[in-house]
Amino acid sequence: MRPSTLCLSVFSALAALFVGMLLHARGRQSTASQERAGRVALVRSLGLTDLCLFTEARYTRHPAMADRHAAFQDHPMALDHFPSGSLLAPPLFPSPHAPLPPAPSQRP
């Protein structure tokens, strides 16, 4: 057998697997709403606001609800205590898209 025949067969197999991967992803997406139904029901009934990814600190467990300077919890530029602080970017507060100016009581 010519080496190119073997090589093209291997690449065809890899390409087939790649297409299979795309189809598998599409298949999982089409059944995703059923798979997600339990989670959605909990989010709706309990009014959950965050994913449970990092549980070591308040501001990593509920980043969307955290204080304005989280992950620099105590004051801006404060050193972070937890390793996931280096993995999570701080929330975009205040951001140019923020709909509201901060309340007077929250101004420094």
């Binding site: 339990g38 965050d50 994913l51 996931s84």
Partner: protein, 378 residues
């Protein structure tokens, strides 16, 4: 077969035999290259799937959460504020939420304790997330002690362990009746942790938030769009994890490509010289090197992407577990739903395959332009 195809196949045959002559070196090269693609693709797939899942789930989150701030920190809200906010025009539903954190001194995990609005959850009973059950080694029907504000233990019977597929949102949850949450945290009647609001018309949310801040300057409204943006920012290309891994992987790849680009080995130069002396054109030599590069880079790209897909979606991104865990004692186990994006795969392809191919072609082009005699002598 058409002559041009036949020519390409013959050049591919030659390229493969050339690669096999330096078997050890090329296998090591492909393995390193596959590893770089694997790490990058795993990260892209993982982050994309998490972002997508966060978006899908938080679509069902409250339209707005209102907190009360005291001395720059989140503080319980009095019922009077809750009632006044409920009366603002445009507010369809306003639910006072009761929740807090509980540090378990026995196994060192942080739990999220929450009051369930479900009336079938009786006082003295609890529904717990899978992660809590796993860490505490308890099952339905067992008793769980939680230490109250006064240091005395409160015993709860586990009525239900939440389903496995809920771990992504509820792994650390302990659901109790509202009365039990008040007893555990010593929260007096008339105080709530925060307020979850549903607006009749989501376009009125900004107006509602403005009215709340005008009425209660110590209130902090958090819109659903801000919750979604927090996750977008956390897992963005610029986000922490992405930056750390992408920067190191791309840097290592640049060093790798630079090493290739700085020149050919004497043996390769000699080979090009011989090919040119027996009648190969510069274009043929470049075609040969293109096929050599294409075989290595395509094999690495396809292999790396397929391995990454298996790693993230079949083995729950096991290699990232330690990075994600941080100091968490309680860690959720979840299986992500793939959210493949043509843009991400294309970026990955251009980030990995193109630099390598360019890095192999440039020095070969320089060698192919040289005089065959001097190339053989060098």
């Amino acid at each position: 077969m058409r002559p041009s195809l036949q020519r390409h196949r013959s050049v591919l045959d030659f390229a493969l035999s050339s690669l096999l002559r330096r078997k050890g070196r090329n296998l090591a090269l492909t393995a390193v290259y596959t590893l770089v693609v694997f790490v990058l693709a795993s990260l892209v797939f993982f982050v994309q799937a998490l972002k997508h899942e966060a978006g899908e789930l938080l679509e069902h989150a409250p339209d707005m959460v209102v907190q009360r701030m005291v001395a720059g920190r989140h503080d319980p809200m009095p019922a009077s504020q809750v009632e006044a906010i409920r009366e603002i025009r445009g507010v369809e539903e306003a639910e006072a939420r009761l929740w807090g954190y509980y540090y378990d001194p026995v196994y060192g995990g942080n739990l999220t304790v929450m009051a369930s609005p479900d009336p079938t959850l009786l006082p003295g009973s609890a529904r717990i997330g899978r992660g809590v059950a796993r860490n505490m080694r308890v099952a339905e029907g067992d008793m769980v002690p939680l230490r109250g504000y006064d240091g005395l233990p409160l015993l709860f019977t586990i009525q239900q362990v939440l389903a496995e597929d809920s771990e992504l949102v509820a792994s650390d949850l302990v659901l109790l009746s509202p009365a039990d949450v008040r007893t555990l945290f010593h929260l007096p009647e008339g105080l709530a942790t925060d307020l979850a609001i549903k607006a009749g018309n989501p376009r009125e949310l900004t107006t509602i938030a403005t009215k709340i801040v005008e009425k209660f300057p110590d209130a902090r409204p958090i819109l659903k769009s801000e919750m979604l943006r927090t996750y977008e920012a956390a897992f963005d290309w610029r986000g922490g994890l992405m930056v750390v891994v992408l920067a190191s992987a791309i840097l290592s790849f640049i060093i790798f490509a630079w090493d290739k680009a700085t020149g050919l080995s004497a043996e390769e130069r000699k080979e090009i010289g011989i090919l040119k002396s027996i009648g190969w054109e510069s274009g043929d030599v470049l075609l040969l090197k293109f096929w050599e590069g294409a075989v290595v880079s395509l094999a690495a790209f396809l292999g790396g992407v397929l391995l990454a897909y298996g790693h993230v979606f079949f083995f729950s991104a096991t290699l990232f577990e330690h990075a994600l865990k941080g100091w968490s004692v309680l860690f959720p186990r979840f299986r992500l739903i793939p959210a493949l994006d043509a843009y991400q795969i294309t970026v990955l392809f251009f980030l990995t395959v193109l630099p390598y191919t360019a890095a192999t072609l440039v020095p070969c082009w320089r060698a192919a332009m040289a005089d065959p005699d001097s190339a053989m002598r060098s």
